[in-house]
Symmetry: C2
Subunit: 275 residues, 2 copies
Amino acid sequence: MHHIWHNGQYFPVNDFKTSIYDLGLLRAYGLFDYFRTYGGKPFQWDWYWERYENSAKKLGIANIIKKAEAKAVVDQLIELQGGADCAIRFLLTGGYTLDSVSAQQPNLFICSEDLHLTSPNEYEQGIKLISYAYLRDMYDIKSTDYKHFMVLMPQIKSEGASDVLFHHNGLVSEMSRSNVFIVKNGILITPNDGILRGITRRTVMALVKDIYAVEERPVSLEEFLNADEAFTTSTTKGVLAIRQVDEHLIGNGKVGEHTLKIAELFWEFTKKINA
Amino acid sequence: MHHIWHNGQYFPVNDFKTSIYDLGLLRAYGLFDYFRTYGGKPFQWDWYWERYENSAKKLGIANIIKKAEAKAVVDQLIELQGGADCAIRFLLTGGYTLDSVSAQQPNLFICSEDLHLTSPNEYEQGIKLISYAYLRDMYDIKSTDYKHFMVLMPQIKSEGASDVLFHHNGLVSEMSRSNVFIVKNGILITPNDGILRGITRRTVMALVKDIYAVEERPVSLEEFLNADEAFTTSTTKGVLAIRQVDEHLIGNGKVGEHTLKIAELFWEFTKKINA
């Protein structure tokens, strides 16, 4: 059963409730991080922890747990839910407030969750995106601010798409919760700014460094649409092909050979890293 | 005692808890409105309701309560806390989620709160602001997104200021939770874009319309700093003089005669509207 750790105690998820007087809810003053296990162990724990600490620092919320203690909590949550692969969420907020703007100390919630995986069909056919002009506010922080994506959800669904591709001043940045890559003439290209630096993105770049030339640089929307292949990387999606943006097919509209190869490298890595 | 209304029931504030699996907390997908009573009755209820409905519509969250029912809840909350003047908060979120992105129905919380009023000293001397380049995301919606303000709080305090003045591309928009006006040569001027349209702003504009020329138009930061007087309007602040922005005094750095006159008009109005 999934549990939530809060203030040193573990609670079954359905039993746990909190005050609405939390700056995370009243003022959207919160951040999170989110990772999954492979083989029952946290994937790339060191890198996720580093990003979590960085978000806390940049958002000015004191991180109230040390790495070793957090890791013990994560291990305990994995065990409590039976050891099967799951997701782990860290949610750090500004804390309880009596005046709606100030708080004495942050609130940290750590919980295990079911994995919500991408369907086999989406891996086989690639996904469709809608494009939307927006630069995520404080994009280098994993804040809880997803309101533009939430507002776009009905449109994404009505257009038969899976997600949104954000662009700003002609440059592509990221999807709602994942990074993007394109392949052009056998070279891997990924935006270098306006993004949250994903851990799967980082993993993929490390895995392919001896096989592909990788360019981290500005990518225009036009260049994206004219790529040979495109794919996205995220904690839950792994490596997933993008076949279409709005009405534009990417390449021939099928999952490309390089995407397949990189996806295979990635999945192989997830199998062996904790084996 | 303050209570929270949720799903048709009233709970003492301290007894009420909610799930952390709310899109308002996990995805900052929430909005609110906030008003106060004068003489034990809601001030400008119709206008606040209109704004609340507008925020819900623009953020794509279904408003799940009708105006008459909401008014009955508000009246009951005022009575439950003893009838003294108080604040009322509406908080509408995307709702409980099982997958962190979708929900079946929104969550609405309505509660009464203590008023956190401005100190007499601040009314007498006016307040200091720090300036900050930022345009509030979805500025015409009263979303819960105040993260920039929260991040700025330590700096505001360390500079002996009370709040922040946002500007973008050279134009002033608003403060963290209130609107701004300047007075120049006896004319009232207030930004017309990049702002949340405050109800106190609207009330003041209606009250002075036969006494002052009022210009709603772009206001540059330079024009703001060189104004004869400046003041802010908000639900809790009413009409409050701004004496300083960063190191620049506004006018002679004291509360101006027009500001005093307009504040008096406003406070008189709050006394007689529900008398």
